[in-house]
Amino acid sequence: MGIGVIDFPSIRSSMYLEMMYKENLKPSYIVDAKYCNSINDSFIFEEVKKHSQDYWIYTGGGIVKDRLLKEIKLIHMHPGFVPYYKGSTCFYYSLLNTNTITVSALFMTGKLDSGDVILQKTYKTIPEGDIDNFVDPYLRTQTLKEVLLKYKKEGELKGKKQTEEGETYFVIHPVLKHIAILKARQ
């Protein structure tokens, strides 16, 4: 038993796996999901049932169906301070509002970004580089490292319920995205 990874090939999943091998926090099993359309694909369901793990790390996006959530505990690194920033492109909204970026590690539920929170980390200094392709996956990876270290130390991961309703955001408009990036670069 340990922590497995459901690997949807992307920059983010590459960064996750690179960090896990580098920091000696290797996953105990990897489900190669490159031919799957979504997390709800039956291949993934069969794989995680066959190779039981304490937790699974999810590297993709989208809503997970109950069938899978009944079988496993799925960890998602959400790029926003839940419950106040749920949904999509939250990095940009929080840059505009607070000039910081927060990553929340949470257990996935059937509702968007509403699961119990394992830990949250706020980054006041934003690394240089493309936000979508570098900063976002990099900061998620840094937070995941803390989650894995916590698991290594404590042997389990506990989540804290979200008590407030918060705000759900949709994909940011390019004008606001540009303002957020220009602001972060100042």
Binding site: S88, T168, L176, K177
Partner: protein
């Protein structure tokens, strides 16, 4: 700018720095200048956008401004916009300029 509405997902909008904002203002201002007359359907949408922008000014909730920007994009994808739509674009531009000033971003 308007191609984002129908063809390209907003999330894939590449970062183009200040040039993007210059183009945004240019395109919006061009639409305002060429607006003419009334159209019941478009005017109804313009009222909804006005409401969103007004609510944004009151609450500063970016979610509202984001929706208004997307709705205005849709309106701009029409060949000819109405006078009421031009009013919403002017209001939106005013808000975006204020936001840029507030953040101290020199976009010119």
């Amino acid at each position: 700018m308007y191609e984002y509405v129908n063809n390209i997902s907003y999330s894939y909008a590449p970062f183009r720095g200040k040039d993007f904002l210059k183009d945004y203002f240019k395109l919006r201002e061009h639409k305002i200048k060429t607006s003419k007359g009334k159209n019941e359907k478009l005017d109804e949408q313009a009222i909804n956008i006005m409401k969103l922008l007004f609510m944004y000014e009151k609450t500063k909730k970016l979610r509202l401004l984001n929706t208004a920007l997307k709705m205005n994009d849709k309106i701009c994808s029409n060949k000819r916009i109405t006078n009421a739509c031009a009013d919403t674009l002017e209001y939106e531009i005013k808000i975006i300029r204020e936001l840029l000033n507030r953040e101290g971003i020199d976009w010119e």
